[in-house]
């Protein structure tokens, strides 16, 4: 900290300590679920949606919407943190763990690029996608995931800033090297750990 104090500032949205402990530095709690998207919202019919895992893998896999519904799904209670400063506490999603999806494909690289309908991309280390830390989800709080929040399905990686949880996810390309995705090429941090406040390039 710089030691700088803002004259006359006391803070009027302070949280009780048990909630404050769940909010990363520089974040505030938002009750709603704001929408942030860099362009128009893609329209994907639920039955036309599908998921691929390809690139440097032993066995590329593709799931149709019907295949995906047959996979074991779980409810994921979580807090989410957007780099634009809001956090949403105590929400939940339902979907399939990346551990399940990656089980059969044998990733041969340590990195992945998530890619979406509409052209969005975001890069993640395989380490951040495995071990019960990432899911492909199609429901939010018991309802079908709304289109503006990434429906029919989005990635969910709640331990990183929410731009990593790619909306309208179409697949993952496994790579032997890391490269920046969309926001990572446009000024945002390569990994985006909210607890380390990794918002921008030089953080």
């Amino acid at each position: 900290m710089s030691g700088f104090l803002s004259r006359g500032f006391s803070g009027r949205r302070r949280l009780p300590p048990e909630l404050a402990a769940r909010v990363p530095p520089g974040q505030y709690v938002e009750q709603g679920f704001p929408v942030l998207t860099a362009g128009p919202t893609p329209k994907i019919e639920p039955d036309e949606w599908g998921l691929r895992i390809d690139g440097m893998v032993g066995e590329p896999r593709e799931w149709t919407a019907a295949d995906f519904r047959e996979l074991p799904s779980e409810t994921v209670p979580c807090d989410i943190h957007c780099v634009t400063k809001w956090s949403k506490l105590g929400t939940s999603f339902e979907g399939v763990s990346l551990d399940v999806l990656l089980a059969d494909v044998e990733p041969l690289g340590a990195y992945a690029m998530a890619y979406s309908y509409g052209g969005y991309t975001t890069n993640l280390a395989i380490e951040d996608l495995t071990g019960g830390k990432a899911w492909v989800v199609s429901e939010h709080e018991g309802e079908s995931l709304p289109r503006e929040h990434g429906g029919p399905a989005r990635l969910l990686v709640p331990h990183l800033y929410f731009w990593k949880s790619a909306k309208w996810v179409a697949g993952l390309r496994v790579m032997d090297h890391d490269e920046p995705g969309f926001w990572e090429a446009n000024g945002y941090h390569n990994r985006g750990d909210p607890w380390k406040e990794e918002r921008y390039w030089n953080d």
Binding site: M1, F4, L5, E30, V35, A38, W86, F182
Partner: protein
């Protein structure tokens, strides 16, 4: 003092040079920056407030000024009733006060002057702020580049930058037009977007999520390619 690196991202203490009242709810703050660097029109700065016990609040605000205004930026801030940072600006900050900021950030919702023209800017309410940086900068650097602003606003009292909106701006009043107004009224529709976006190749839209959804659909219908429609949606921020 060591030589300041010109990289974005370092916190610096800015000084409020002047405050301009735009509307009863919106004020523009001119900040002087010791480590200023030129921003791209559309970029934002982060603001950090610190209380005596170490409590911190941060928010992001778009820059409204042109990067030709050296060593300073203008942040235009809408006062949100249940907010924390915007009420502080409105109720406490005076010229001469100091504020911690860092930036400029994000390089997608920006106008570089190299995008296909004509350009159409569509702003709802305080969503005009980053678009104003684009409009102001284009007037000073590339006045021949066709760029048009569509500005949706509730009432005459809510119009920001009123004395700078010229022939390149089309307003629509959604609640109450000024007396004698003969222009557009009501929400964005195909007629208004068709008029403003005729021939447009690139679009920037900023406003609430509902506003951006409507505007982007109208612009897609008007024939602008999705990859040339850039949007910024403000959720509640304050």
């Amino acid at each position: 003092m060591p030589v300041a690196p010109r990289a974005p991202g370092r916190w610096q203490v800015a000084t409020v040079a002047s405050i301009e009242v735009q509307t009863p709810r919106v004020k523009s703050y001119r900040l002087q920056l010791p480590m200023w660097m030129p921003h791209l029109p559309g970029q934002h700065y982060d603001v950090r407030l610190t209380a005596p016990d170490g409590y911190v609040a941060q928010r992001s605000y778009s820059v409204a000024s042109s990067p030709l205004d050296e060593r300073e930026i203008e942040l235009t801030i809408d006062c949100l009733a249940d907010g924390e940072v915007s009420p502080y600006f409105h109720e406490v900050v005076e010229p001469g006060d100091q504020v911690e900021v860092r930036g400029p950030f994000a390089s997608y919702f920006v106008w570089r002057g190299t995008e296909p023209a004509p350009v159409v800017l569509v702003g709802g309410g305080s969503g005009i702020v980053p678009l104003m940086a684009m409009l102001r900068h284009r007037r000073r650097t590339m006045p021949e580049t066709p760029m048009r602003l569509v500005y949706s606003v509730r009432t005459a009292e809510d119009v920001l930058f009123a004395d700078e909106l010229g022939d390149d701006a089309i307003l629509t009043f959604t609640r109450e037009p000024p007396v004698g107004w003969t222009g557009h009224t009501g929400r964005l529709d195909a007629g208004l977007i068709g008029e403003a976006a005729a021939g447009a190749m690139t679009a920037y839209i900023c406003g609430s999520n509902g506003f951006v959804e409507t505007a982007s659909q109208l612009l897609l219908d008007a024939g602008i390619k999705p990859e040339w429609i850039r949007t910024e949606r403000f959720g509640p921020t304050g």
